[in-house]
């Protein structure tokens, strides 16, 4: 299951989207999400989906990668569709026993599904085309103004990028511990929910211990490499806006204006 999450999984190719400044992509994704929530009619959803399709083509990332992120929200998707389908009042379309589906429910469920799918794919496009480091750099720079109210922006960005770096390592480690315990007769597959949860305890304890040990090691290694917080730090790849970034800003804003005008 953990392997299915595409968030934070960079897919290296050399597309226009890859070369955009991470701040542009963050802003663009944010505007896209706001746009999605403004959508009311199917025409608007059509425009949003078309925009997404253009982005997928521009990104040159295989479409299967985009949809991999959907697996992680499959259950959420199912629940929200079912609830909207059966619990919306309105003109009845089909009635089976106490269950009834209304036209409004059908529409709401469909739009909710479309919204969630576009949301996840939209966010995936950003993470697939941006290296985690560029992403945290972008966040650090975009949210720099929060430093005034003493939010440790640099530290948070650093923690995020380190977390992203260690996700695959910890997944591998979980796998190793699981196999070691299965070799000694541990059972992770059978039994009810409670038994399964109980079986996780002996898995989590060694995982946490190892994670703490890694954290200590990494802290020492970072100190040995002269890390002393964000002050006086320079960048190998400082963020710089290019012509294509300004163009992207204009397109994104035009997209939002179009959606608002159509309403």
């Amino acid at each position: 299951m953990l392997r299915d999450i595409t968030l934070g999984q960079y897919y290296p190719t050399d597309s226009v989207l890859h070369r955009l400044d991470p701040r542009t992509k963050l802003f663009g994704t944010m505007i896209y999400i706001i746009g999605l929530f403004l959508c009311k009619s199917w025409i608007e959803y059509g425009i949003a989906a078309a925009a997404l399709a253009v982005m997928i083509i521009l990104s040159r990332v295989p479409v299967s990668f985009m949809f991999r992120g959907l697996k992680a929200i499959a259950i959420l998707l199912l629940i929200s569709v079912v609830f909207n389908l059966f619990l919306t009042d309105g003109e009845i379309w089909i009635k089976i026993g106490f269950l009834r589906i209304t036209y409004e429910g059908l529409r709401l469920a469909g739009q909710m599904a479309a919204r969630l799918i576009c949301l996840v794919i939209g966010a995936s496009i950003m993470t697939l085309t941006t290296t985690p480091n560029a992403l945290t750099d972008g966040l650090e720079r975009s949210l720099g103004f929060l430093k005034v109210i003493r939010v440790p922006v640099h530290e948070i960005a650093m923690m995020m990028s380190i977390a992203l770096r260690f996700i695959p390592i910890l997944i591998e480690e979980t796998d190793k511990i699981m196999k070691a315990q299965m070799a000694r007769g541990a059972d992770f597959e059978n039994g009810g929910l409670i038994e399964k949860a109980k079986a996780m305890v002996p898995l989590l304890v060694p995982l946490f211990i190892s994670a703490f040990r890694r954290a200590t090691d990494l802290a020492t290694a970072m100190e040995a490499r002269c890390y002393h917080g964000g002050e006086g730090r320079t960048k190998m790849k400082p963020l710089k806006y290019n012509a294509r970034d300004y163009a992207a800003y204009i397109i994104v804003i035009a997209f939002l204006v179009l959606l608002i005008l159509i309403r």
């Binding site: 290296t131 480091n133 990028s161 770096r165 090691d217 020492t220 490499r225 002269c226 002393h228 320079t234």
Partner: protein, 282 residues
């Protein structure tokens, strides 16, 4: 370049009330002088204090008693800490736990970034460091796609990019396979010979020690032997008492000598043994 002056280091175990419960002396009155351009190998079995000694060399640990001077700067002086760490770089045991970034070249740039080096110079330094460490073609890859030996060379490149004059390797080869170990050793030897970088190699592989200018053997928190690899390994009985082995070739030569084959003491490499055996025949 580095002057270690009678240092002692105690690990202190405290109970909940912050009272001292127990203390372990990891390093006991050790003195050591490391000259610029030297290749030093520190040997010792587990718990002999060699890693603790290494960590005092760049102010990660401060000695309980005594002083460490790096190019004249005392490691106790906090205003010098950055300058000391810039000059004495360190590579640790676990390759995964010292790589900060998701892209090789960005990780190599981490040190110079912390030092506030201007962007253009960082790019130049990173290119050169990757070249020297032999990972130039891996620059754009993720560290997760590299082998252990390659990851350690990324760490070495990270130190080189800070323009360190000395690299301390704290059992950096312990988790590597034989090929990875060989690659790392080859890189270190060339850095030492061609660029004059001081190397302090902490290890328990004897084969690595034969490349050093000086071998230091530690046991029970003290330095017990010191000398060229030849001097140290020509006393196999004594070394074994400190819980470490001699290189396999040396062991073979020793066994031959016991069987009555006349050989000189302290043979360290296969080539040496072969030529000695050939000479005997002639």
């Amino acid at each position: 370049m580095i002057e270690v002056n009678k240092i002692t280091y105690d690990y202190i175990v405290r109970d909940e009330n912050d009272e001292i419960e127990d203390s372990v002396r990891a390093v006991n009155e050790v003195s050591l002088n490391i000259a610029q351009g030297e290749f030093i190998c520190v040997l010792g079995h587990n718990g002999s204090g060699k890693s603790t000694l290494a960590k005092t060399l760049n102010a990660i640990l401060l000695p309980t008693f005594g002083e460490v001077l790096v190019m004249g700067m005392n490691t106790r002086d906090e205003t010098c800490t950055l300058e000391i760490r810039k000059n004495v770089g360190m590579v640790f045991q676990n390759p995964d736990n010292q790589i900060v970034s998701n892209v090789v070249e960005e990780d190599v740039a981490f040190g110079p970034e912390n030092l506030g080096v201007p962007t253009e110079e960082i790019i130049a330094r990173v290119a050169k460091a990757c070249e020297r460490a032999g990972i130039a073609e891996k620059r754009m890859m993720s560290p997760n796609q590299l082998s252990g030996g390659q990851k350690q060379r990324v760490a070495i490149a990270g130190v080189l990019a800070m323009h360190s004059k000395c690299i301390v390797l704290d059992e950096a080869t312990a988790m590597l396979d034989p090929i990875g170990r060989k690659d790392v050793m080859r890189t270190l030897i060339s850095l030492n010979k061609e660029d004059g970088i001081t190397i302090v190699l902490i290890t328990h592989y004897m084969e690595e020690a034969i490349n050093a200018d000086r071998v230091i053997v530690m046991d029970q928190a003290r330095i017990v032997m010191e000398g060229t690899p030849k001097e140290v390994f020509s006393q196999p009985e004594r070394i074994r008492r400190y819980g470490i082995d001699v290189p396999q070739v040396t062991e073979l030569a020793e066994a031959l000598m016991k069987r009555g084959v006349a050989l000189p003491k302290g043979i360290l490499t296969t080539e040496e043994l072969i030529s000695e055996l050939k000479n005997r025949k002639a």
